[in-house]
Symmetry: D2
Subunit: 363 residues, 4 copies
């Protein structure tokens, strides 16, 4: 199967370039009978939408989604769901000057090497604009997980450059443009971003995502473990350079007595595992963290080459996010939701209403 489909049973296939007429996706395999509307999907899209604060790109896209199939009388029918978002603010003239440039740390060079040609308008297919369809498809996944299992998938910005959040207050996440769960850090982040924009530079970020209410048993050893599929899903997001499950890289310095999550009849005593043991969900919260690199489009000149191999200086003048991490929280949530629904269906396929052989401990 080609690279633009995600999932084995709940399959999302997307298309669309930054400056083409439209973005779209097909969600195939969605269980029938799920109540879903354009408004439900729009809610999630609006969380990712560009231009909502001064800290993100000023491109104005309504990101208005249309459902073209698969939903009848307000419910999914089990047949493929076609979704479409028309691009409205393309301004492709902005990009004419980069047609011959190979921007450093962008996908310009590699797309050209791979395909022998490329759509240079705004990054074409490599633009983070494609993530809109992930969020749209993820909205359907979230709806199903919530209705079927009471699963909630929620993320937050856990680090913005040097600024680490210290408190996790879920209620705060929607109250600021950073998805920051620690109200005390918001002013610091605002100041940091203002200075950064002035400087013409960009910065990395760390996003954390939790899923609560996930039943034990999801994940398909040995290759399609739940954590392996999460790693695949999250690393496929633009700009992501690292993925951790639970304790992640901190495990390297942990001793076994520290890392192992002991169990009592009342439940697990810790969650270094991040909710996954042997590649299968344990009933604890699924916890993942991702690292996003700083945007590569900068007003500060950088060395590169043009398509003829000549050295050039690259300066970005278009509209760009100084920190791609700021808008990444809904995308990371969407990808985790897609993995969970896919594995929920896979589990139901093979194991049906299996009667677990042991008592279930509290997550």
């Amino acid at each position: 199967m080609s690279g633009n489909t995600f999932g084995k049973l709940f399959c999302v296939t997307t298309f669309g370039e930054s400056h083409g007429p439209a973005l779209g996706c097909i969600v195939d395999g969605c269980p029938p009978g799920l109540e879903i509307s354009e408004a439900d999907i729009q809610l999630e899209l609006d969380r990712r939408k560009p231009g909502t604060s001064r800290y993100t790109t000023q491109r104005r896209e309504a990101d208005q989604v249309k459902i073209l199939s698969g939903v009848f009388e307000g419910k999914t029918t089990g047949t493929p769901i076609g979704l479409l978002i028309e691009n409205t603010d393309q301004r492709s003239k902005d990009y004419a000057n980069i047609a011959e440039q190979v921007r450093p740390a962008h996908a310009d060079y590699t797309y050209w090497q791979k395909y022998g040609l490329r759509d240079y308008r705004g990054g074409g297919r490599s633009s983070a604009r494609e993530t809109a369809m992930r969020v749209a498809a993820g909205a359907i996944a979230k709806q199903w997980l919530r209705q079927q299992y009471g699963i909630e998938v929620r993320g937050y910005l856990s680090q913005l450059g040097p600024i680490r959040v210290e408190k996790l207050d879920w209620d705060q996440v929607g109250q600021n443009p950073f998805f920051c769960p620690d109200a005390d850090k918001v002013p610091e982040m605002e100041d940091y971003m203002q200075a950064l924009i002035k400087e013409g530079n960009s910065i990395g970020a760390r996003i954390s995502v939790h899923a609560s209410g996930v039943p034990a048993g999801l994940g398909e050893p040995i290759f399609d473990r739940l954590d392996a599929d999460l790693a695949h899903a999250l690393m496929s997001i633009n700009a992501v350079k690292g993925v951790e499950i639970g304790a992640g890289f901190a495990s390297v310095e942990q001793k076994g007595t520290e890392h192992r999550d002991e169990i009592t009849p009342e439940g697990f005593l810790s969650n270094n595992a991040g909710g996954v043991l042997g590649g299968i969900s344990s009933g604890q919260d699924i916890i993942a963290h991702i690292a996003l690199k700083p945007t590569s489009s900068l007003r500060i000149p950088g060395r590169s080459i043009d398509v003829h191999g000549n050295p050039i200086e690259v300066v970005t003048k278009g509209r760009h996010d100084p920190c791609v991490g700021i808008r990444a929280t809904p995308i990371a949530e969407a990808m985790m939701a897609l993995v969970l629904v896919d594995h929920a269906l896979r589990q139901r396929a093979q194991n049906g209403d299996v009667q677990p052989g042991v008592v279930t401990v509290k997550g």
Copy 2:
């Protein structure tokens, strides 16, 4: 497709439990005409084999591989390659006492929750013993990558608990039981492991893997990016809790000017990208790092429950690795090699002998 197959075109499907009669795999899609012998595969298996030093499990397995099909007169025929390793040192009586135990931080609980029953002998399918077949299949992948493109995939232990390596001398990696590339750190590691074994505890580790000679163009945006598939592959290894590509989590605190790898006609000036831009290889070395958690089988008692839900104390008396990371280097190499060969075939499928539109810069 079920969870025991890896790869889209170069497909590896494995079977086998820790204490069953045999482990095996089928490698399907291997290009024909590749010279390969049981001895070639055995070389890699011997690097992973247990019992080769005092720092790993004392289980004695010859791990002798047999080629059952797909190779004729010393060359692959293009048809599926069947590989088999018989288990010889099973001692399943060692495990009788754990039949009713749910060991903390093991897959006991989750396998039972998922399937409703489990093979409790030595972890059954969840045992790291299955990784032998990954290494066997990876040996074929490595051979093809070397012969076809001159690609070399090599790994090393970059951190053992608190001990970080400071020098990368590839020649040292094979000279010590840790796959440590820094000779100065080996005595320290030996002391650390001796103390750890005495204590009955275990420790985490970090492994790094490099692939050199990889042509630009491998990776299938947007979901099957090369880095996303590497994350999938590496996170699917037992005990892995984190994956980084290039600068990884360090990207969080990097500014754009620092992270972006500038390009000159002579080549890239740095490699924070880890050889992947926009999900496609750039021609630079592919670099990945993984975090492995400490083994969960300890001589130090831990709290858990039995299959009836009663609280118990778990103490492991069997043969186990105090640091699973020590034997993980060949496994990580194998998984990277499997990803690369799969993507080399996918690239050849879609893009054939494409003439890149830009001059190729030095990796």
Copy 3:
């Protein structure tokens, strides 16, 4: 992977219902650099379009296709190609009366049993209207096969009810509304259809498809043989009840001496194999035949039940094809083209520019 995607490397995923706002598809994995335009695709769509003669449904659909992505400056970019056709002549009020009916020999009963609900407007997803997207995707496949290998995929009506064609004159196929290659049979077919329409009945048909210029070597034993994938592709077309390769069911009564296609240095002496030996193309023409059942929507009443289980009489008053086979030729061509391009890419992936070990005989 869910059921609305066809192909392993050249992947077509479709969506859309008979009476929804639009039909669409995503073609993923298309090689880059292929020249393709909306007009190229429209040519094929117009061959399948309803309402072009008095012998097909009188529904008026322009079937105007739009390319939404994946093509830049007239060439494919290697990224997913989004195609869209808006429905214009839905008249869903026509179907209100069948909301509670279970029409015999339609998919009403089975969709309801499968999904628990259904879109009853014009058959919803089960309508043959979805085949428009197969033809659109097939147009791209045909273009690539032609430009890359000189392959031509062509079909014709070989039998209309009791009327069997006796001559195969490719030039005649486009000269009549039946895709009939035998000009002498056209008047007979016209008379037959007139009588049938008057009667309010329908009739079956047989379609034959040939691909010429196919190189030897396509097909992936043992399960994804070229003939097996053709059978899958062709049987997936609405109303198809049988598939033959080469001599097909006539093989049952053939002796080995009759069936085997002898070989001389000048080429094969016959083509009972239909161009496939051991599941792999031989270089001869690929030849397949399909049987299509008569349409189930009749003006003659039939017994059935309603959704409450009560016996009812079903009479169809909507616009329908009295012989679905008449418009099936372009669809069958499209499906064969999709199989061939998929296998051409799979062959290139595994075997690259393999040097055949034997002299190539003429097809």
Copy 4:
């Protein structure tokens, strides 16, 4: 995914050549808790085994199967099931003389063209010997279908060359070496085969397979329809040249009033559909028919070429089946069973315990 895996969720991957050391397969995705033993599988293998009558090849293979994994204490565990059959009667010297021959109507020519080399011993991978593993895997599928749903998959020889069976008495099928359900035809078949063997020729056959007890709802429109997947499965069997579902090619001459299976509250009044409507099972018996070509290995000389392109005369002296159809019944049953179990799991994945929206009619 490469070509040696069948199924999306219940996945069978096979390996092995006619004259290699062993044949094997991995069954991945089997639901846990299924009681299965080597003896259960052996029962089916013995039905296909060569050398059981004078009408089949005289090669003597015990076809003794071993279960290497995935079954613990008599039950499947949900992890991959490894199966192995060692070859014992290879006699590869018999085949030395054909190393340079390209046998007509065999896969010699196409394997060589595809892979650039081939294992010429007994047809290598293209030998029908690989079907043993289909039967072994199918035995597990049958067991699950029977225990889970009461589904029975049964086949019979419906035509041997010119001899058509006229009665379908299931009790007769196991009473003769032809799987013939019509006792009156058996002497005629014996005489026909004796004459054929004397002549040194071969003959085609037609096999029919029925599945009873199949619930409504199996099949994934629009591409993975149940009938399309059956066509794929059955056409992938060696020597098959045609597949029909229900009325098959007879549909071509049927009118709609004749073909449509009317429905009453008591059930369907006929079964021209073969149990599939719109690609989904209706609850009626699933009925398929296949055409098998005559064996191509004949004692009567035929024209061909050698690997240097020189004209030669080919005469087969090895042990061969004069009618491959005779042993094909268990293979066809196995393939249908594999399709049904795969679709039962797919249905359970997407639709769970869906409450059908209409009353269920009797199959």
